[in-house]
Amino acid sequence: MNSAQFKIKQAFKTIFGIVVVFVLGMLLLVWGGPHQASNKMMSEAFWANKLVNAPVYDIVVVGDSRVYRGINPQIIEQQFKSKVRCFNFGFSSAGLDTILLNEACKKLKSSGMKTLLIGVSVNSFYPHALKNQHFKEWQHKPKKELWIKRHLYPHLSQLSSYALSDLYHLGTNNQYYEFFKPQSGFVYSCKLPIDTNSAIQPYRQYFERTQCSDIAVNLFMNKLAQMKLQGYHIVLLRVPASYTMWNMEDEFSGDVINVLEIKTSQLGINWIQTTPSKHTYDGSHLIDKSTNQFSQYVAKELICNLSK
């Protein structure tokens, strides 16, 4: 065998070796690799599913991250005696504008309960949220991309990449856990260690720099009145956050939620009464376990509301 033939043979062995190392490495990581606190591929599948699933729901929950991390549609469905389908259409930093509400309505079955459960946060009427960047980012993704993420990613989730935090927090509990439920649009999440003040400062800085939009609040109320005329059943609630968070939000927004509650009640729109919670992991989002309890409460109140 001459030198050139030898090199070619070595090259073949190396290609084979790369494939072996790659496959073995993947198997090792799948079976015994470090735990992933948040699976990125499941996250992508989760958001893609929110955008393209069919209008088959009786109840759609809409709002920001407090909503999609706080209200579990599966638990709501279980509380109803008859078969009801519920979906969480929450997006990060969602602003309650006409576009988002229209999209949420599109998920509802044309016949049936046609119920829109809207989680209101003070932040939803602030300029940054009203841009609805997260929702629009997904809304504008090409259909092919959404199809791939929705249908292929759940099967490839074992190939999801690690975050650096997964690696340098190995063996500790300092992580941000997220378990995505694409079928219901809900995320179980918890950030460890729990720090009920960690979200306060960023929110405060943001509120100090900007102002709650009265125009957005008025447009929201007009839209609610319009939807009510169109036959939608609308129920509002303020999703729990910590006492400090609610107080700060009320202080900066001029008590916008209370004003909203009074004005929408005059329109005949019902509210589910909620209180601040001690069980948040950052002051803004409920701890995974307490979301079950909260979702049960919401379901019961919703049943009462619908039976009125």
């Binding site: 290609i15 790369i18 494939v19 072996v20 790659f22 092919k144 791939i148 490839l156 990449s161």
Partner: protein, 461 residues
């Protein structure tokens, strides 16, 4: 279809599966390249194909005319250049120019523009330049005509270089494609290694750095800390290098697996000791295009010093605006032109020898500051960021910086760019086990350590 996507992996497997069987067939291989490259491009939007093949057909036709009717060759050259420039202006610059016009004269031209002008076809700047170089080379007698329209379409649409370069001249690729190149395992291995290295640069380094950079530039006013902006701009400096070099490297690797050699597009630009050298090492195919077809056409350095400097400025401004329809890119080009002028003036006046580490530092500093204009969304944002960087005011604890993700990726980037040159990843010990482990693990890192999927930065150009 981007290189770092699942559809592309399936696409490439299909391409090479068939390519291995038909590469010896002189008709089928050209057809296969055109067909698959069309699928690759149409994945974005099938209508883009019309522009690609329409401008290509004009260039092929005018190219033939240049050779057959030499007395009218200048006319045919202008027809070719005109059609390419027109398509660039229509699809890439019209909305921007109309916006500027409206601002200046308080008109409403932008609203009257047809809808198609609002969407920039992916990679239009690259394939029009590929196509233009063909007719210019024919005009200058530096190339031969393509054998057929099919061959020409294969050259302009060849998927590895279609949407983000490297910009390739017809003479460099048509000859290689015509040959019945046999590709052995050694060439495949080299191709595979280059591809893995490209993916590592793009998916692991560039995409992880992008997280921090994108976050900061989304709302520049939210960050006023100087150290954060320096970290961010260093992050972007490496992000754009690994992003674009990653793409070019993957393109080279793919071409190599087809038995085609693409020239190097980046040659360690961040080790340059002068701005002139930086431009000889950065995006080499574009720099040489501008040098050959713009700078030299203007007279190059044949006139007096000031004429040379003016030619340099025009070339750099054209290069800036080629990158995007925004004043920020024009400023980026102007800043580099300014650096080049200062450098040549200093070189003429100063006779002292400057230590190489100092030259490298100054060049790097200039490049980092200039990238601010390249990355910022508006001139206002760029000035804000520069102000924050240059008037130093930081309250961030060193510990916070050291523990941040961006810092960790910056350290890895620094090791890759400035690490000892003797540890050349392509020349690692030849033992099968060492190489298999190294490249296998690098490939694994592309899967398990990659950042959030980002489109290649240069696709927008």
């Amino acid at each position: 279809m981007t290189f770092n996507s699942i559809p592309f992996v399936l696409f490439v497997l299909l391409f090479f599966l068939v390519w291995a069987r038909i590469k010896q067939n002189n008709t089928h291989k050209w057809l296969w390249i055109v067909l698959m490259s069309s699928v690759f491009y149409a994945w974005w939007d099938w209508r883009f194909l019309i522009i690609l093949f329409a401008t290509g057909a004009i260039d092929y036709y005018t190219g033939n005319k240049i050779i057959k009717n030499p007395q009218y060759k200048k006319v045919w050259l202008w027809v070719s250049l005109g059609s390419n420039i027109l398509s660039l202006v229509a699809f890439k610059y019209s909305a921007w120019l109309a916006g500027l016009f409206d601002q200046m004269f308080h008109t409403q031209v932008a609203q009257a523009l047809p809808e198609f002008t609002l969407v920039v076809p992916v990679g239009i700047s690259f394939y029009t330049f590929n196509s233009m170089s063909y007719t210019i080379d024919l005009y200058r007698g530096k190339a031969k005509t393509a054998d057929s329209l099919l061959h020409f379409f294969a050259f302009i649409s060849f998927f590895p270089h279609l949407v983000a370069g490297p910009i390739i001249r017809a003479k460099d690729i048509l000859g290689q494609l015509s040959r019945n190149a046999t590709v052995n395992y050694l060439q495949i291995l080299n191709g595979v290694k280059i591809i893995i290295w490209g993916f590592f640069q793009k998916m692991v380094l560039a995409d992880n750095l992008a997280v921090f950079v994108n976050e900061k530039f989304q709302d520049v006013n939210a960050t006023s800390d100087s150290l954060t902006w320096w970290l961010c701009m260093l992050g972007f400096t490496f992000q754009i290098y690994f992003d674009f070099n990653g793409y070019s490297t993957i393109a080279r690797g793919l071409a190599k697996c087809c038995g085609i050699h693409f020239k190097l597009n980046f040659n360690q630009p961040y080790l340059a000791l002068s701005f002139r050298s930086f431009w000889q090492k950065w995006h080499i195919s574009l720099s040489s295009f501008f040098k050959e077809y713009v700078y030299k056409s203007l007279g190059g350095n044949k006139g007096n010093r000031w004429q040379t400097e003016i030619n340099k400025w025009i070339t750099m401004l054209v290069s800036g605006i080629w990158h995007g329809a925004n004043l920020t890119f024009l400023f980026w080009g102007a800043i580099h032109a300014f650096f080049l002028t200062i450098e040549s003036l200093l070189k003429a006046k100063l006779r002292i020898k400057i230590p190489s580490f100092f030259s490298a530092f100054v060049v790097m500093l200039g490049v980092v500051l200039a990238w601010v204009f390249f990355r910022a969304n508006t001139l206002g944002d760029a000035i804000y960021v520069l102000e924050k960087m240059l008037i130093f005011n930081s309250n961030i604890e060193v510990k916070t910086v050291l523990l941040s993700n961006v810092f960790i990726w910056l350290v890895v980037s620094l090791v890759v760019v400035y690490g000892p040159r003797k540890v050349n990843v392509f020349g690692l010990q030849k033992q099968v086990v060492v190489q298999s482990l190294f490249w296998g693990l690098l490939l694994l890192s592309c899967i398990y350590l990659h950042g959030p999927e980002q489109q290649f930065i240069y696709f927008q150009f």
